[in-house]
Amino acid sequence: MSWETVIGLEVHVQLATQSKIFSGSSTAFGAEPNTQASAVDLAMPGTLPVPNEAAFKYAVMFGLAIDAEIGKESAFERKNYFYPDLPKGYQTTQLEKPIVGPGRVEIALDDGSTKDVRIHHAHLEEDAGKSLHEAFFGGESHGMSGIDLNRAGTPLIEVVTEPDMSNAAEAVAMAKKLHSIVTSLGICDGNMSQGSMRFDVNISVRRPGEPLGTRTETKNLNSFKFMEECIAREVQRQIDVIEDGGQVVQETRLYDGASKVSRSMRSKEEANDYRYFPCPDLLPVVIEDDYIEALRKTLPELPDARSTRFQSDYGLSAYDANLLSADATTASYFESAAQQSDAKLVANWMMGELAARLNAEEKEFADNPIAAEQLSALVARISDGTLSNKMARQVFDHLWTGESDVDAIIDKHGLKQVSDSGAIEALVDEVIANSPQQVDNYVKADEAKRPKMMGYFVGQIMKASKGQANPQQVNAVLAEKLAGLL
């Protein structure tokens, strides 16, 4: 019997503001613990929150990008629970009056069609700090946990979708599209490994035509790969439970990407009563139409528009254009590399060698060690015949490991392709002279078999040239010389 999967996402997006949502502390990642935590972030007695205008601006930009209604009056609630990385004992968040109302996001499906995913709302809130359970006292934790409040108060928008996705591929496409939108807007750095975007996935299964099944929520997925694996496994787990005569329990689950196992964190019965109530320290924020309209006018190019432009300006296929336009960093990298050289070739190299290498080394695009200018120079040397594809890959390796100048690499490592016809002719003559048996075989062979037999000579010539001979020229000269022997 068949099953339907119903998926909704809750996405935490860290906003790339300079300072925190309610204090002036820096939000930069990676500082020494608690060096970016002010009296407000530490929830010292008597301190008060002051809203950061940039966080509101970014949230409104997101709302405009997903075609949503902007909450004209945006208010904050307190969500109460005790945890050491939550200094106030409550999270300041939005419940009744979120800043972004219902919207929609279009995703591209594998079969080339598109689908609208509805956004229920997006609200502003503050991030918590981090608990450090591993050793932190010079290698000895002495049975204690450390608290780092650098992240506490970092502004987030939590984007809540409707349960409109029906398989892992759609959910991942949606997650990627949201990533693409927020990075294109410049409101989030999109760095998943640093937790800049974190996904909670609500999953349920049902028989076609039946009402929604009981859902589970898997929290804090921070890679698309984990999300895909986790959904597949959770869907199967739920189907197994039901087919074995059991019932899915409403619960919160955690997925361990390394062991590929999810486990229950808490059930509905154990869930906190968060005792939400309006935060009396913050007045409702009124967002005026003029402000919204001014922002709408300065909204940066969004991924869908950029993809269309890449197709028309650079002659890319829709598939290539979608891939390269999804992420703002990737897109601007492509555009700067394509300024000086063949755009299609740049696209091929980005989606081929570069993507493969990043993937193999589990690096984000932002960690790519090769600058756009370098890739552009590399592609230019392919276009002008200096480098064969094989040589280009060698140059790429050198760039990857830190050498910087393409032409210097070509000189230093002798990677220049030999296109001098005299030199090639000499090589061809030399190989023919040194291979009397193979020449004899070639001459006596059937016409049909000869092209295949040419491979031997090409291989010998390339070897003699240390791989530097231009293969097209070698082929042409060789064919001519061999024909002369018949």
Binding site: M44, R78, F277, L282
Partner: protein, 489 residues
């Protein structure tokens, strides 16, 4: 004791300092001596800061000599111990913060420093400002200088006792449901809580954020005006403070009161009001008629709902505001915690007093799933009705007057076993906080030898007018000049 004698109002002291009759160092030393000799009877200070006070006094003398010093320069005051003072313990009257030394000062503390006021120390209070008798202090109750077997009121009991005992010329205080006006009334002093948002809450340890407001306790309306000039400010660090120009509150003190319409709410003179208190208040109202004012009976029909609404809203906010006291980052931490839950539960169980725990429980309950609508939401609706009562009343009258408290100071321990009786202490004062209005209490007579306060409630941001109304009364009466026999000698 020093041989010099000193007047006891800011206005007179400021004049004396400028006339060279005494220096701020002499004046400060005089108060420090009094505190040392007398405060064991009143327990009004939690922390005394003599060295700092004398340093500030010396700096004030230099500034005074240079001329053009603010009126408060060199005047010895003290702060309620919920205003954070950088480098000086700020306990909030709680074991929880007995070890807490903030690295920052409250904005209002900085304002007083800016104007050269000398800080003598930090004043006793009910723990986390929860109480009406100062009996909930970890440091023991402050005593009423009119009768040390009686309470000074609360929560700003130390702020009132110190001024009444002449251990400080004026003090800062805070008012969430009457915590300035009730102790001022019980100690025969002038106290004012300005409009919500008029003074910064930054650095004032929060009890109920939507109700808390800083204010002052003084010997006269004129002194209150001088103190309020410094207290009031717009503060970008407090999102609920209001960006509105602060007037000079001393300018209009002498304006006449001809044609002033005084609203007298009938609900404030019903059952439960002490007869002598009523008599004193009626006499004060008659005095105002002589000053040219007209009395208008008004109704504030939702008055009876103020106490119940308050005891949902204030504990609800407190339950969240006090969550930060968890033993993790600062303040009291239990001995040898076994795990996180043990750390939380014992630190909070041991660090908070009974009344605070009770209110946290009540507040958490009122916000719980399934009860929110019946309690918190309903209380907020009531709050809007109460506010509307006042808005309607101020269509007809300029100011509202009545008793500050239903009775004069009661005995220590008299009401501790009966929380409802204790909560009814604030029956006339609480509505003002729910509406966010400015409120004031001035001495208006005596009941059984104990001071009675007249409450003056003004319209939003009408503090200057209220101070004027209070000052005119004090020009024709001397209730505010009465002093406990013990203090006088």
């Amino acid at each position: 004791m020093h041989t010099k004698t000193f007047p006891n109002t800011i206005a007179e002291l400021a004049a004396g300092l400028r006339a060279g009759e005494f220096t701020s160092v002499e004046l400060t030393q005089h108060y420090l001596d009094r505190i040392q000799q007398l405060d064991s009877q009143y327990n009004s200070f939690i922390t005394v800061t003599p060295e700092l006070a004398l340093q500030q006094a010396a700096a004030a003398d230099t500034r005074l000599a240079a001329g053009d010093a603010p009126l408060l320069c060199g005047i010895p005051i003290a702060h309620k111990d919920l205003f954070c003072t950088a480098g000086i313990k700020t306990s909030c009257g709680s074991k929880m913060l007995d070890n807490f030394v903030p690295p920052y000062s409250a904005t209002i503390v900085e304002n007083y420093q800016r104007d050269g006021a000398v800080m003598l120390g930090k004043l006793n209070m009910d723990e986390f400002a929860m109480g009406s008798s100062n009996e909930n202090s970890f440091y023991g109750p402050a005593k009423n200088p009119w009768d040390t077997e009686r309470v000074p009121g609360g929560s700003s009991g130390g702020s009132a006792a110190a001024v009444a005992a002449q251990l400080a010329v004026a003090t800062t205080a805070s008012d969430t449901g009457g915590s300035i006006r009730q102790p001022a009334s019980l100690c025969g002093l002038t106290g004012i809580k300005p409009t919500y948002g008029r003074a910064s809450r930054y650095g004032m340890v929060a009890f109920a954020s939507s109700l808390d407001q800083a204010g002052v306790i003084t010997r006269s309306a004129e002194d209150a005006a001088i103190m309020l000039n410094t207290l009031a400010s717009y503060d970008p660090k407090d999102s609920t403070s209001i960006d509105r120009e602060v007037p000079d509150y001393t300018t209009d003190l002498g304006d006449d009161l001809n044609g002033l319409k005084i609203g007298v709410p009938k609900e404030y003179f019903e059952a439960g009001l002490d007869a002598d208190t009523e008599k004193a208040v009626r006499n004060a109202l008659a005095e105002y008629e002589k000053l040219g004012a007209e009395l208008v009976e008004i109704t504030l029909p939702h008055t009876h709902l103020a106490v119940p609404a308050y005891y949902v809203i204030a504990p609800a906010e407190a339950s969240a505001n006090l969550s930060r006291f968890d033993g993790v980052r600062y303040g009291y931490r239990c001995e040898d915690p076994q795990d996180l839950m043990d750390l939380y539960t014992r630190s909070r169980a041991e660090g908070f007093g009974q009344e605070v725990k009770q209110r946290i429980m009540v507040g958490a309950y009122a916000l719980s799933a399934g009860y929110y609508d019946a309690y918190y939401k309903k209380a907020q609706q009531v709050r809007r009705l109460i506010k509307k009562d006042f808005v309607d009343a101020f269509e007809k009258v300029d100011v509202i007057m009545g008793p500050t408290c239903p009775n004069p100071a009661f005995k220590l321990g008299e009401k501790t076993a009966d929380p409802v009786a204790m909560y009814l202490e604030d029956i006339y004062t609480i509505s003002t906080n729910l509406a966010g209005l400015p409120g004031m209490s001035i001495p208006a007579g005596f009941s059984s030898g104990l001071p009675v306060g007249l409450q003056i409630t003004g319209n939003y941001f009408d503090e200057a007018h209220m101070l004027n109304i209070a000052h005119r009364f004090q020009q024709v009466t001397d209730w505010h000049k009465q002093m406990p026999a013990e203090v006088q000698s």
